[in-house]
């Protein structure tokens, strides 16, 4: 009884939060006296039709992102006494030092100072030549790369076309299963050395977005010599072309690097780099506050205010490409009923939920392509919350509402909060639900099964701005049941996704991706909630850092201001 009373109290509280959010939509953003990039948040235009009027009350609340941090008060910048040693704190330990086994962000994070790829994203998310100076598209599945000359590996060897072929071949073996989802697209037999500095790479099938996947850890260029002479040693002592040379890895504690004097891009700014593992958010923030670390990655909304109020610290934020969804089991009645799914969408006020749960630390995304990604479709009313319309659609769908549906969620507090509010909002239109919280590993297995109703999911951890990863993986029918957990099998959508993947970037692909987003919204295999934000805390004497969408960050060109 007591438990029940508490649950009801929680619900009331949650409901009142949502109502109060609706009351004060235009929350002012904290002033950040810096060059800011506005997120592509949108005005919900009412040009689109009847139901738009009701969505106006939810409004939109754009979040200001601040990718490049600057000190709030430059006169307070004191510098670091021993200012050539950069120390970074990350929230998880790597499981490997081999880029071809790097299946998680922690691994990417410790390998990026050592490893480089043919192309790279700059601070604006634009693709830039990197180890490849230029490239030509030969046909819809072949690319010819012209390599930069004079690039040295840490073992002194020069990077040549043979290293590229070696690296990509190794990345397509069974050993590299952790990076297979991208590297498997490369046809190992199609790799061709034209001369020492020219190489042709082919994909197995036409794949227009291929280049946008290449700044990927699995596509790093490794020294062929180092990895063939003593592979076992190289696996634990990675050899790449990056500005920092790997020195030492201490499990669960740190990874240490020294600068690479022969780096092709000029001498790195710091003598040493140390990436420490501090799993607890609080402890990581405290290590920043006490000056034990220069950069603390992966902070949460709880540390945001503290960061903003401390003049000796700075904050960098960047929207990720990760989006959270409440998925519907499209293969099971009544969720196989499209009208019913749409009714659910109208019954849930996704945008207000994101605002009340994330308190301005994450933005609402109306679909799988997040607002800061390429080809984000900004045309439709984003959040179509309309209780009356929802009731109408429910009636039309003819679904029996006497049953209780399940909302499954893993042990993630923000998702549990979201589920609680959803439960309340669905109750308003007469849909009964129960929330089932599960341990994460068990949950991951549960959602690939077939006996599920509604359940949370997150997707898009790679952090590349191209939308392909966010629409293809979770929705193409070939991904059932491991990736496409909604079990949605729609031939029209499959066809559109296949075409979008094969097309080279351009107007046609852009239009197709807009159509895909509209079509997905109409299908409603899920409703989308937040697009999370990376929050990085830094000492005010850190220069040259910019936050990126993936949770692993990039420290290669960071320098530290000396003492005044």
């Amino acid at each position: 009884m007591k438990k029940r009373a508490r649950r009801i109290l929680t619900l009331l509280l949650a409901a009142s939060m949502v109502l109060s959010m609706a009351g004060c939509q235009k929350r002012s953003n904290d002033d950040t006296a810096t060059s800011t990039e506005q997120s592509a948040g949108s005005d919900s235009s009412s040009s689109d039709g009847s139901d738009a009027a009701s969505t106006a009350e939810t409004g939109t609340d754009t979040i200001t992102f601040n990718r490049i941090p600057t000190p709030s008060d430059p006169t307070l910048v004191k510098g670091k006494a021993d200012n050539k040693d950069l120390v970074v704190a990350y929230n998880a330990d790597t499981t490997t030092l081999d880029p071809h086994c790097a299946g998680n962000s922690a691994a990417v994070n410790v390998l990026m100072p050592v490893m480089e790829q043919l192309v790279k994203y700059d601070e604006n998310g634009e693709l830039q030549p990197w180890l490849a100076e230029s490239w030509e598209v030969l046909d819809d599945h072949s690319w010819e790369f012209h390599l930069r000359k004079g690039v040295k590996f840490h073992n002194g060897e020069e990077m040549k076309a043979s290293d590229v072929v070696f690296s990509f071949t190794r990345a397509t073996t069974d050993y590299a299963a952790n990076v297979a989802y991208i590297m498997d697209m490369i046809d190992p037999d199609g790799l061709e050395i034209v001369d020492d500095y020219t190489v042709i790479v082919r994909t197995k099938v036409p794949f227009g977005a291929f280049l946008y996947y290449l700044p990927y850890i699995g596509a790093s260029i490794l020294s062929e010599k180092a990895y063939t002479e003593d592979e076992a040693y190289a696996i634990e002592h990675p050899v790449g072309t990056g500005p920092y040379v790997f020195q030492e890895y201490q499990k669960g504690e740190y990874t240490k690097y020294t600068k690479f004097d022969d780096y092709w891009g000029g001498e790195p700014a710091c003598d040493t780099l140390t990436i420490r593992v501090i799993p607890d958010n609080n402890t990581r923030y405290i290590a920043l506050e006490t000056g034990e670390v220069d950069i603390a990655v992966g902070l949460s909304v709880n540390e945001m205010t503290q960061l903003e109020n401390n003049p000796e610290l700075m904050m960098a934020t960047c929207p990720t490409t990760v989006f959270t969804t409440l998925n519907f089991n499209c293969a099971k009645a009544p969720f196989d009923n499209q009208t019913f799914r749409q009714a659910l969408d109208y019954a849930i006020n996704e945008e207000a939920i994101v605002q009340s749960v994330f308190r301005g630390s994450a933005q609402y995304t109306p679909g799988p392509v997040t607002p800061d990604s390429k080809y984000f479709y900004d045309g439709e009313p984003h959040c179509r919350y309309d209780v009356e319309k929802a009731k109408e659609l429910l009636e039309e769908s003819g679904v029996d509402l006497s049953q209780t549906f399940e909302i499954a969620v893993n042990e993630n507090q923000t998702r549990i909060d979201e589920a609680t509010i959803i439960q309340q909002q669905l109750a308003e239109v007469g849909i009964k639900t129960e929330i089932n919280v599960m341990e994460t590993a068990a949950y991951n297995e549960y959602i690939t099964g077939s006996d599920k109703d509604m359940f949370f999911n997150g997707w898009g951890a790679v952090g590349f701005p191209d939308p392909d990863n966010n629409v293809y993986g979770p929705l193409h029918s070939s991904g059932i049941p491991e990736n496409n957990v909604t079990d949605l099998s729609d031939p029209t959508l499959d066809d559109m996704l296949d075409r979008a993947r094969a097309l080279q970037d351009g107007d046609e692909r852009e239009q197709l991706l807009y159509d895909i987003q509209k079509y997905i919204r109409d299908l409603t295999p899920f409703v989308t909630f937040e697009n999370s934000t990376n929050i990085v805390g830094l000492q005010n004497y850190v220069e040259g850092f910019y936050a990126v969408p993936s949770s692993d960050q990039y420290y290669n060109f960071v320098s530290l201001v000396g003492q005044n």
């Binding site: 330990d93 499981t95 490997t96 086994c101 299946g103 998680n104 069974d174 299963a177 952790n178 297979a180 989802y181 498997d184 201490q250 499990k251 669960g252 504690e253 420490r276 593992v277 501090i278 799993p279 607890d280 609080n282 402890t283 405290i286 290590a287 506050e289 006490t290 034990e292 341990e439 994460t440 590993a441 068990a442 991951n444 297995e445 549960y446 690939t448 997707w459 951890a461 790679v462 990863n469 993986g473 991904g479 491991e482 990736n483």
Partner: protein, 311 residues
């Protein structure tokens, strides 16, 4: 005593077998797919299936268990971690020194502190100092360690800037983690010592010792503490086991890579071999500590030696 030790060491085999069977079964019936967790999102069906097959996860449960037992007992091989591909024993040995250092120092602090406070409290029974120590001991047992750890970090690292907030390097780095970890043991040892001492203080031989004119200090050290030691050592032995496995919170707050954290991380990843290895390792360590405690009993109390070696 040697025969007794050998007998006890042989008993480790069924313990290890039993523990491994329980952990293996629990892990395999708990939901969660290690391959999926290892590979992350967007892995194709075939790759997943190929990896499962290669890792032997598609074999029947009994086959998997027998293979595991065969490797462990015939080749002393705990297997390879799914996540890092490193031998499990290496993973454990990399993490064990931190945990051992943390546990031993904390245990030493707890033993000295707990016995001192307990004796002090017992000798001054029902006086002011006794009440103060009792209240402190109650607080010590009640404080959750993660909360205390964060408060101590806030005070000594953030406000005063005296001690590092994380890690276990140097004597300075050990102060906070060891304080946090030993506090509960100090408290429980204080209470145990106090009650055990109070039992002894009322014994006839103590009265005799006092009557024959021994100084108060001599009575406490040579007659009271010595006789009160048995339950105290039992507590130390039990605490040692719980410290060894229970350092998880402390290791997380202070970012120390010890066995506790390794085990929790591995459970989250469903890294079966590492979890099994850690549990067996800790179980054996606890057995060994208990054996040491039993042997210590005999050194302290010759009566026990007689019964144990005969029986």
């Amino acid at each position: 005593m040697l025969r007794y030790s050998i007998k006890r060491l042989l008993q480790l085999i069924p313990v290890a077998l039993g523990v491994s069977l329980i952990v293996f079964t629990l892990l395999h019936i708990s939901p969660g797919d290690p391959v999926k967790l290892m590979m992350g999102e967007n892995v194709s069906q075939e790759v997943l299936e190929r990896t499962r097959e290669a890792m032997g996860l598609n074999d029947p449960f009994v086959v998997q268990y027998l293979n595991y037992i065969k490797d462990v007992f015939l080749h002393f091989d705990l297997g390879e971690s799914y996540a890092t591909k490193q031998p499990v024993i290496e993973e454990i040995l990399k993490c064990f020194p931190s945990t051992l250092k943390l546990t031993l120092v904390s245990m030493a602090v707890a033993t000295v502190g707990g016995i001192l406070l307990g004796v002090l409290s017992a000798v001054n029974q029902n006086k002011g100092i006794d009440s103060v120590i009792n209240v402190l001991a109650l607080l010590g047992i009640s404080f959750p360690s993660f909360w205390l750890g964060l408060l101590l970090i806030l005070l000594f690292s953030v406000q005063l800037g005296w001690l590092p907030s994380s890690g276990l390097e140097g004597w300075k780095g050990m102060i906070l983690p060891c304080t946090v970890l030993s506090l509960q043991s100090i408290a429980s040892l204080t209470r145990m010592t106090r009650s055990s001492m109070l039992d002894v203080i009322r014994q006839d031989y103590v009265r005799t010792a006092k009557a024959k004119g021994l100084s108060a200090a001599a009575v406490i050290f040579f007659h009271e503490i010595k006789n009160a030691l048995i339950p105290i050592i039992t507590t130390i032995g039990m605490d040692f086991g719980s410290l060894l496995g229970g350092a998880v919170l402390c290791e997380t707050i202070f970012s120390i890579q010890g066995i506790g954290r390794l085990m929790v991380d591995s459970i989250k990843r469903r890294d079966y071999p590492v979890v099994q290895g850690c549990v067996i390792f800790i179980a054996l360590a606890c057995c060994l500590v208990n054996l040491a405690v039993d042997l210590l009993y005999m050194v302290i109390d010759p009566k026990l030696k007689k019964t144990k070696t005969e029986g």
